[in-house]
């Protein structure tokens, strides 16, 4: 395959032990602003204080202001989702605030993936409604579970990442140099640039998650929905991807992630949605994940709702 020659610097992500969610966000955001030169352009005529040269925090500020001016949030009103007439997730009502960072937590079979699919529009709500404000579903990027993909299908890692550009190129338009550069850049960001030409079937579990992460970066959407992005990855990879995610949130993007690691959630996610067939708790992470709620979540799923 012909690839243009890229000489973009690779930034090594070296955030392992973050003191706080806020610090993580600030540090990763400045790293991400470097990593996404395309995002540095001040949109809508917003300029930094020093005339044409935007540097460091100014760039980030401009990006944040731009993101705030176009708020995107997801609102669910008594929404139930399921398959074959059986509701896996009942009567969810609530709102994901624009620019928020929410973890979706719950035992197996709690309906976490179902919720994500419902928001993405892959699954129609059986009752109630899902409203995506702002750009609508075009403003949502999705990182599905790796198991949803047919990994034996012979496509390269680059081609998988390029799928993220679907909304811009569709089934027929050319994937130009700009899109290709964006894909390569995303692969470099997640550390897979060397494997761009390899088949997805040859990737390890962690590499696959990185590739899916790259595809989500290529989607370049204001709202990111991640379904178990750290499943089957080692702690080093999880740290790197988490830092990237914090960086994306720092740019003003809304992050909604299905996770299992409660410590990770407590460290990095200010808000949390605890599911167990329906909403157990939704709000501030410390409150949502207290012992009483977690016990309730286990009970609901084990014995059915009283």
């Amino acid at each position: 395959m012909l690839l243009p020659h890229f000489r973009l610097p690779i930034f090594h992500v070296a955030f392992h032990a973050f003191a706080s969610a806020a610090e993580c966000r600030a540090r990763a955001a400045s790293a991400a602003a470097l990593r996404f030169p395309r995002l540095r352009l001040a949109p809508h005529g917003i300029r930094g204080g020093r005339g044409r040269r935007l540097v460091g925090a100014d760039r980030l500020g401009a990006r944040l202001v731009a993101a705030m001016s176009a708020p995107v949030a997801i609102e669910l009103t008594d929404a139930s989702f399921g398959w074959h007439g059986h509701a896996a997730l009942k009567s969810v009502s609530g709102r994901f605030a624009a620019g928020g960072m929410t973890a979706v937590v719950g035992p197996n079979g709690a309906g976490k993936s179902t919720l994500i699919k419902g928001i993405m529009g892959v699954l129609r709500p059986m009752t109630g409604s899902v409203r995506v404000t702002g750009a609508g579903r075009a403003g949502l990027a999705w990182l599905p579970q790796a198991a949803e993909l047919d990994r034996s299908f012979p496509v390269s890692v680059l081609e998988l990442a390029a799928m993220g550009a679907w909304r811009r190129v569709g089934g027929w338009r050319r994937i130009g140099d700009e899109e290709l550069a964006r894909c390569m850049h995303a692969l470099e960001t997640v550390g897979l640039a060397d494997l761009a030409g390899h088949g997805v079937g040859t990737l390890s579990g962690g590499q696959m998650q990185r590739a899916l992460f790259a595809r989500m970066l290529v989607q370049d959407a204001p709202v990111l929905l991640l379904d178990e992005p750290f499943a089957a990855v080692d702690s080093h990879t999880a740290d790197e991807l988490m830092a990237l995610l914090c960086g994306l949130h720092g740019q003003g993007r809304t992050v909604i992630a299905v996770l299992h690691d409660l410590d990770l959630v407590r460290d990095h996610f200010p808000e949390c949605l605890l599911l167990s067939g329906s909403v157990v708790a939704w709000g501030d992470t410390a409150t949502a994940l207290d012992d009483a709620h977690l016990k309730l979540a286990r009970q609901w799923l084990a014995g059915g709702r009283a």
Partner: protein, 288 residues
């Protein structure tokens, strides 16, 4: 007799051989690329099921208006699509999986088809439908096969990216605003149309062979779908020519000879192909 003579003279001397070659090649060019996608989607047996599913429609067309190409074509496409839709519907509404419901419907179709053919036709007619008349292709049949091959290749080029995305990650495609459902349907229509066009040439039973065997063989030589497609088409054309030559020189029936040539190609690929062929993976086998 020199080799060049052996290869060329049958086609130079006889019009029916040239027609047979043109028909079989056109069929390979259209059907083998579809077979590549059937293999990649793990729907290899679908082609087989569909080829039986078109039989009652073809037979009904034959009953109503004799050996009319148009009537048999319309009937075949109608029952083929009906079986595909019904099987999909049963799989969606009941716990029965799609492959099982496909098998059920095509067996019903096969029974119905054979019954209909024998109601009016002789055994000879049944044999023609089942095994084709590659050496007796008339102009309308030849035009039909070549037209279908042309349309198939153009349509496949048009929906190629959609088809690949739909195979790889259907949920993501749907979430990205690319409607995946109609692509799958369009693909099924292409398969059915090719099978119906092909039954004139190789017969309903044999036409699946020229769809699947070159595709399965190509998989052992190259990795990407974009390379498997032209290779499969090429292998199909080669098998058609080889089969016809063998049929001519050794006085054996033509359509089984073509399928056996494609089969030989497949067997050789299993052994010698660089992508997972037996000779290339002795270590993996020993370890397992």
């Amino acid at each position: 007799m020199s080799l060049a003579q052996w290869v060329l003279s049958p086609f130079l001397d006889y019009g029916f051989m040239r027609r047979a070659l043109a028909g079989a090649c056109a069929l390979s060019l259209g059907a083998a690329p579809l077979g590549v996608f059937l293999v990649l989607r793990r729907m290899s047996l679908m082609g087989d099921a569909m080829s039986h599913a078109i039989l009652p429609g073809v037979a009904a067309g034959f009953l109503l208006s004799g050996l009319s190409l148009g009537a048999m074509m319309v009937g075949g496409i109608a029952t083929g699509l009906a079986v595909a839709l019904l099987a999909g519907l049963v799989a969606r509404l009941t716990p029965l999986r799609e492959d099982a419901s496909f098998a059920a419907f095509y067996l019903i179709s096969l029974g119905l088809g054979v019954l209909l053919v024998s109601l009016r036709g002789s055994n000879m007619d049944l044999l023609h439908v089942l095994f084709g008349t590659v050496l007796g292709l008339d102009d309308p049949a030849l035009l039909l096969v070549t037209a279908v091959a042309s349309v198939t290749l153009l349509a496949l080029a048009a929906i190629y990216r959609l088809l690949v995305a739909e195979c790889l990650d259907p949920g993501f495609l749907r979430a990205s605003g690319g409607a995946g459902g109609w692509v799958h349907m369009a693909f099924l229509v292409l398969v059915v149309v090719n099978l119906v066009a092909g039954f004139q040439v190789l017969g309903t039973l044999m036409v699946v062979g020229i769809m699947m065997l070159p595709a399965a063989a190509a998989r052992f030589w190259v990795r990407s779908a974009a390379r498997q497609i032209p290779l499969a088409a090429g292998l199909g054309v080669a098998a058609s020519a080889a089969g016809l030559l063998v049929s001519y020189h050794f006085n054996v029936p033509a359509s089984p000879a073509i399928i056996l040539a494609a089969g030989a190609c497949y067997l050789f690929s299993i052994v010698g192909g660089p992508q997972g062929g037996l000779l290339r993976t002795p270590r993996r086998l020993r370890r397992a």
